[in-house]
Structures are given as C-alpha cells and as structure tokens.
C-alpha cells in the first residue's frame, strides 16, 4: 500500500451528511440533505492531508512503509545523480560569481524530489519543467557538456543557441520541453501534450506527460487551467508540484491559505498524493504509482512533494534578506535528502566512505573538465540572432533588421573597441552567416 489514508473525496464529509437523503437535483449526484453544514477539508476530518514517507531522517524505513523495490545498481545511479546536482550547482554558482555566466539556479534541497521523480518516469515520458529540473535531464543522459554549453550559451548550446538565460534547457531527444521563464505556462501545455500522446497510436497507453512546477507557480491562472483541462477533457498528465517553501522570498504561508497544493487535486476530481520530497524512495514510489494511475485512467494525477529550498532562489537572490541563515543551516543538517539516502545505502551495504570519496572526486573532475571546455568555446554565429523566428521564408521586416545590423557592424564593428571585443566572442568573429557575412566585403 502506498497510501495509508483514504482518497480525499468531497462526499466523505461525515456520517451526518448521509443520515438523511432527499434524492438529487437533476444535474447533480450530490445528495439533498436538510442539514446546513459547511465543510473545509478534503480529508473528511480536521487532519491536514498526510505526507507519505518511506525513510526517516536517518535513512531507516519507517514502520509500516513498503520500501520500493530497487537493486544496488539502480540505487547507485540514483545516488550518483543526486550528488551530481550539487557538484554542478557549486561550480556553476561560483562561475556565475566570477562573472563567466550570467545566472544560475541551484537544486540544493530538492535533489530527492527531482531525481526520484525522474527515475520513476519512463525515459520517453514528455517532461515539461519549470526551471529547477536539471536533474531530470541528467538522469536521462543529457550530459554535463550540454548543461555547460547551455549555461555558457556557446556554439554547442543545442537547447536554444544562447538565446535564453542559463538553466533554460530543452531537448526533444530527451523528451524535455524547452524551459521558458514565464511561470506556469507549461501547465496547460502539459495537458495538451498528454492529449497528443493519447492520440498517437505508438504512444497511447504507454507514455504520459509529466509537468513540474513550484508552489508559487500554482497560484497562476495557468495552474488551474491546466489541471482543469487535463482532468476534464481528459489527458494522461502527471502534475508534480515542488513545494519547497519559497517563491523567491515569499514563504508558502503567504502564498496560499489552504492545505498546500494537494488540497486542490480533489477539486478537479483527480487522484492526489502528498509526499516527503526529501525522501527519494517515497518520491520514487509515489511517482511510480501516480504514473500508473495517470496511464490507467488517462487523466490527470497530482503529486505535491514537500521539501525545503536550501539554496537561494537564484544567483540574483540573497535569501538571508528574508530568512535566518541558522534556519537554513538547521534544515541542511537535520534533513538533507542526499545524506538520508546515503545512510540508507550504507545500511544496505551498498555504499561506504571510499565510494563516497571516489564519486565526489570523479564528479568534480568531470564537471570541471566540462566547465573548462564550455568556457573556451565561442558563441553561436551572430546571424542566429535572426533565425528560428519563423519557418520557411523570412519575412521582410526580419530581413531588413538583419541588413541594418550588418550595415552597423560594417561601419562600427572593427573601429569601435567595445563592439570589436564583443564580436570576437562569436563563432567566426561575428562573421560567417548570411546576416553579417558581408562585414569585410
């Protein structure tokens, strides 16, 4: 049993509701009752929606919990990917501080949520992320070089040719839809992606859409639109809310009044579960079961993964302006998702200090190698500034803008030092494309 509590349903409102039954209104299955009674719970009691957990804070299976079946190799893969996240984050964070990349968002504190969910999905389930889901791509073999290329926006950036801020990854090969900065826009899109899968003969009953978002994004209208559509139309879409306690500086207590994000699931009539997001085995089990239900029902399912954002929101944020440093340090010490799983692995005899040391050294070396490579590569050709706006024939207004830039560069590109320096950062020194190829003509 993965769920130790009854499915929250509005009809579970207490015995008095069922005592007198006066039939139904024509357009509703709601029983008519003579008692005026308000309700404010989806659990049918004063209890908050419970949180599913498998491992306790020191990596021991809690009493009554069924540990999901994993073998040593799989556990090692989980752990390595969990560890890769902070290794990458630390380097990218520092690289941003050195001014070599413009921005970064770390996954500190959410490693179990992201890797656990990634591991429970099939490799070709379509993933629509918010921005803190780099771990899904790592799990799927996107590679550290591709991560670095995107963050540096260099010529190897297949995610977006250097057009987006760092961490805006995307890869059709890895079934990972390109991240966009506007929050929650991916949520109704995920409903459409799910519907497309349902309509594709080769993927029907086999693939789902999985959509990640934060508890802050769940305040956007697009959240409601997406869950409404995926439940009503319906479409096989799994919604995974990462409730990490903060939307930039705003704590979740100021984000909503209700019982988290999970309480909203029953409002859409969909199966919902809240899970301890710092417990990778709980996340793994919950997402596996949620995925099964999503496919079986062909309808939306909602997971709320509870964690704590240990890192700052981004490199543009200093979270100690709105929370105590000690609070963060305490949380890191008391409930570190990586440590929790390492302790479990050690208890199984799958891990030890030597393995830990070897892994950390190896990951760091891999990341540093990729960083140095990415740093040395030029940006895409400057002419890419104007491509991919439309398919097919380029409209006249874009052609005119290409020509205008070409003329400007011809006139000032080599005589004005700031431009000359900047042009040198592009592939072929800013030349070599249709747009600016006539620089030296």
């Amino acid at each position: 049993m993965l769920r130790k509590f009854p499915t929250p349903r509005l009809h579970c409102l207490g015995p008095q509701r069922r005592a007198v039954h006066l039939g139904h209104l024509p357009n509703s299955r709601s029983p008519l009752v003579p008692t005026l009674s308000f309700f404010n719970s989806v659990t049918g009691s004063d209890e908050k929606i419970p949180t599913f957990r498998v491992l306790d804070g020191v990596g021991k299976p809690v009493e009554g919990a069924q540990v999901p079946e994993i073998d040593e190799a799989f556990a090692r893969k989980l752990y390595e990917n969990m560890q890769l996240l902070p290794t990458l984050d630390t380097v990218l964070y520092n690289v941003q501080r050195q001014g070599k990349i413009s921005f970064h968002m770390t996954s500190h504190g959410e490693e179990a949520t992201i890797i656990g969910a990634a591991a429970a999905l099939e490799m070709d389930d379509e993933v629509l992320g918010q921005y803190r889901e780099m771990g899904v791509l790592l799990w799927r073999g996107f590679g550290i070089d591709s991560v670095m290329a995107q963050c540096f926006g260099n010529q190897d950036d297949t995610s977006g040719k250097g057009r987006q801020m760092p961490v805006h990854f995307g890869s059709p090969k890895h079934h990972f839809h390109t991240i966009s900065s506007p929050l929650a826009t991916q949520i109704p899109q995920a409903a459409g992606v799910g519907y497309a899968l349902r309509r594709s003969p080769d993927r029907r009953s086999r693939s789902i859409a999985a959509c990640f978002f934060g508890e802050g994004a769940a305040s956007e209208g697009d959240f409601h639109a997406g869950l409404l559509l995926a439940s009503t139309i319906p479409s096989p879409t799994l919604f995974i809310a990462r409730n990490n306690g903060f939307a930039i500086s705003t704590p979740s207590t100021e984000q909503y009044y209700g019982d988290g994000i999970a309480s909203r699931g029953p409002g859409y009539g969909i199966d919902t579960v809240r899970v301890d997001g710092n417990d990778i085995l709980a996340v793994l089990a919950a997402v596996r079961e949620a995925r099964r239900r999503t496919l079986e029902q062909g309808r939306a399912v909602l997971i709320e993964a509870m964690s704590y954002r240990v890192g700052h929101h981004s490199t543009s944020d200093d979270s100690f302006a709105y929370r105590q440093r000690s609070e963060v340090e305490d949380r890191k010490r008391v409930d570190n998702p990586i440590v929790r799983f390492r302790l479990y692995m050690e208890s199984r005899g799958w891990w030890d200090a030597a393995a830990e040391e070897e892994l950390k050294a190896r990951l760091k070396a891999d990341v540093m190698k990729a960083f140095k490579r990415a740093e040395s590569l030029p940006r895409c050709e400057l002419g890419e500034l104007f491509t991919d706006v439309y398919a097919g024939e380029e409209p006249w207004n874009i052609t005119e803008q290409r020509k205008e830039l070409t003329q400007l560069l011809k006139k000032y590109g080599q005589v004005w030092e700031p431009w000359r320096t900047e042009l040198g950062k592009f592939k072929n020194g800013g030349e070599g494309s249709d747009a600016v190829g006539c620089l030296n003509r």
Binding site: S159, T178, T185, D222, E384, D388, G392
Partner: protein
C-alpha cells in the same frame, strides 16, 4: 499559406434606403446591411477560381490549373466549416476544440463536425482561454495540428501570455528544436449588430508586434493555414452570414502576407482589411455621387478622384511592398480600421509607408512632374457599430479622404 475568400461591400445609397426595414429580425450576430450588393463579392465560379495567389493542394503538378474545378455557394461560417472538415479529413493528427465547439459553435462554424469526426477530435473545452491556448500549444509542440477557437476576439486576452510569450517564441527559444507550426487559433472579431463594448473589438494590433506569430485578420478560408505556422486567424463575425460567395470545393490555399488590390486607382490609396472593406466600398460610392445633404462638403474635384482600394489581407507579416508601391504612385494614403487608432495597426503602417515613400518619385498620374513624396497620410476610424454607419460617419470618411486629396 492561407486559404481564403473575400467578403462583401455595400453601395451606400441602397444602405440608407434599405437599412433596418426588413421584415425578419437579423441573426443573433447581426449582419451587414446591403452586403449582398457588393461589387467585390466573387459571385461566379470563374471569379472564385481566379482569386489571386490561389494554389490547389490536391496535386502539385496541377497546383494552378483551374479547369474542371467546382465551386459551391457558401457564407463565411459554412466556408470555415468546410475548411475544418477538409483538414480533419486529410490530417488524422488534426483536432478542433474550444468553448461550445461540439454542438457546432456559437457561430455555427463547427456544425456537424463532432458527429462526423467524433468527440475525440472535435470537442468542448471548459471556459478557460489561457487553457485552450496552452493546450493547443502543447499539442502543437508534439507535431499535432491543433485548431482552437477563442469564442470572441474580445476574450483572447487571458490567452495573451500563452500566445505572445509561448507560441510566438517556442521555435526561437528552443533553437528550432520545438515549434508550434501546427497551431491555429480562430477567433471571431470586429463589430457586430448588437455587440457593444465586449463583442466588437479588433485586437489584431496587440499581436502585430509578436514576432513568431502570423496574424490574419479575416477572410473566409476554404482550407486552414495549418501547416508550419503559428497563426491567429480572425474572422469578422458580422460577415459569417451576410457574405455569400462562390467558394471552390477543392482544398486550396492563398498566400499569407500578400495584399490584394480590389479597385485600381491613381489618386489615393485606401487601405483596409476585414469588415471595413465594405464600408469603404460604400463610402467610395458616396464620394463619387454624394447625396444632397453631403454634396456641399464634397468638392467636384474630389468626386472625380480615382481611389485605389487595397485589401491588406494579413497583419503579420503585412505586405509593405504592395502598399508602398501603391502609395508611391498615388502619393496619398488613407488607412481604415475598426480598432483604436493610438499605436494601432494603422499607425505602424503609416510609419513604415512614410519611411519607404518619403522620397519616392510621384507617379505619372499626378502631372508626372518628377520628385514628390507622400503628401498626406490619415487613419480613419470606422465605427464599432455598423448601424451607426450613417451620414455623420460617412461624412467623416469623406472629409478625411477630401483632406488627404487636398480638396
């Protein structure tokens, strides 16, 4: 590529005499009085098959051959329905959805489609425009053809973020890895008989700056431009029933981004799109032969002006080349649209034309005396309420045209 069929126009004299005297009430969305008398309608098979730019989709070797093709008399909503039906028949990946779509849509554009193609492909959505747009985008990123309806263009704004930040930018932001080429948003637009404030707007200008979208503000389509585009297709709702033309029954497309000259002229370029095409036609009759009340305000010289009427046909991209070519000849431009003038489509066009034509040589028609430039440009706002197209507003048009002509 866009498929289409142009709509109607109104001889003004007949409009004033016949206006609102009919015995039967107008249809719920209203109609444009006198539209059936327009000289611009394609009422014969020959005219329909000769629509400029038409390309047949059935056989590439046969793409421009008109012989043996048939037409059928349709109004706009029937033509839209026909186009949707063709796409659903030819393309298994195509779906049609939106609010009230399954029973045929509030403007009847999807009538019978859910019965014919099933509820999996033609279906209702809950009332959520941002959701409809997002859902359609999601399907399109998977390579499917998503044809979504926003029930009124006035209600497209909740979807603005999805359309401008997502649909328009997906190809660009993903380095070409993802696209929404299969996305089409259809939405009824412009004035209507009793539409009032929130059933009459023309929001095309808000999308004009969204590089990555294509915006086509009207036309009947006999096949939808569903391939490799991200398109907002705006249908003038008052013409759904009013405009009846011969429409080819074969699958065809018309080019996006190409204007069409409806009436050739040498003295002034009159540029418009959508419903006001027919107001313009009416106004031109009025200009040439003003009723007694207006006659004192219309100098003889103005009455003889040869006005070139251009149908812009597409807002983004728009046919700057054709418009500038015309203005370079006439030296004068009047732009007519229904939406507000400030920072609207007309303002954008006026600026571009001024840039292109400021030093353009003046056409031969005007004495042919060498250097000239665009003498005057005006944007003329047509009324939101067609019933208000009365002497006063006609006079506004006449005075604008008169001013531009220097009369």
């Amino acid at each position: 590529m866009l498929a289409s069929r142009r709509l109607t126009s109104v001889p003004f004299a007949s409009l004033i005499r016949r206006n609102s005297t009919a015995g039967s009430p107008p249809p719920p969305e209203g109609h444009l009085p006198g539209v059936a008398n327009s000289q611009l309608l394609r009422l014969t098979k020959e005219k329909a098959l000769r629509t400029p730019g038409i390309v047949w989709n059935d056989d590439e070797s046969n793409a421009i051959v008109n012989i043996g093709r048939e037409c059928r008399k349709m109004n706009v909503y029937q033509a839209v329905r026909d186009a949707l039906s063709i796409e659903l028949t030819k393309n298994d990946n195509a779906v049609v959805f939106g609010e009230d779509i399954a029973f045929g849509g509030v403007f009847r554009c999807t009538m019978g489609l859910s019965e014919e193609f099933g509820r999996e492909r033609v279906f209702n959505t809950p009332l959520t425009e941002q959701g409809i747009a997002g859902f359609a985008i999601g399907m399109a990123t998977m390579g499917h053809t998503a044809i979504a309806e926003i029930q009124f263009a006035d209600y497209i704004f909740p979807a603005f973020d999805q359309l401008v930040n997502e649909a328009a930018k997906i190809r660009y932001r993903s380095g070409g890895q993802f696209n929404v080429g299969g996305l089409t948003i259809r939405t009824p637009t412009m004035s209507v008989g009793h539409g009032g404030l929130y059933h009459s707007q023309s929001p095309e200008g808000f999308f004009m700056g969204a590089a990555g979208l294509k915006v086509c503000p009207y036309y009947i389509c006999s096949t939808l431009p569903t391939r490799r585009l991200g398109l907002i297709f705006m249908e003038p709702k008052i013409l759904y029933r009013s405009a009846i033309e011969q429409v080819p029954i074969d699958d065809f497309t018309l080019p996006l981004g190409r204007a069409e000259t409806l009436v050739a002229g040498a003295d002034l370029t009159l540029l418009t799109w959508g419903t006001p095409i027919y107001h313009c036609e009416t106004a031109l009759h009025l200009l040439a032969d003003p009723p007694p009340e207006l006659a004192p305000h219309v100098p003889e010289g103005v009455r003889k002006a040869k006005v070139e009427l251009i149908d812009l046909r597409s807002i983004l991209p728009w046919d700057a080349e054709a418009v500038a070519e015309s203005v370079a000849r006439t030296g004068r431009l009047v732009i007519v649209h229904e939406a507000g003038m400030t920072a609207g489509v007309g303002a954008e066009i006026a600026a571009e034309v001024q840039k292109r034509c400021f030093f353009a040589p003046r056409g031969a028609s005007e004495a042919g005396n060498g250097l000239g430039h665009t003498e005057r440009i005006a944007i003329c706002l047509f009324p939101l309420h067609p019933a208000a197209f009365n002497h006063l507003l006609a006079a506004h048009f006449v005075s604008t045209v008169g001013w531009v002509l220097g009369g």
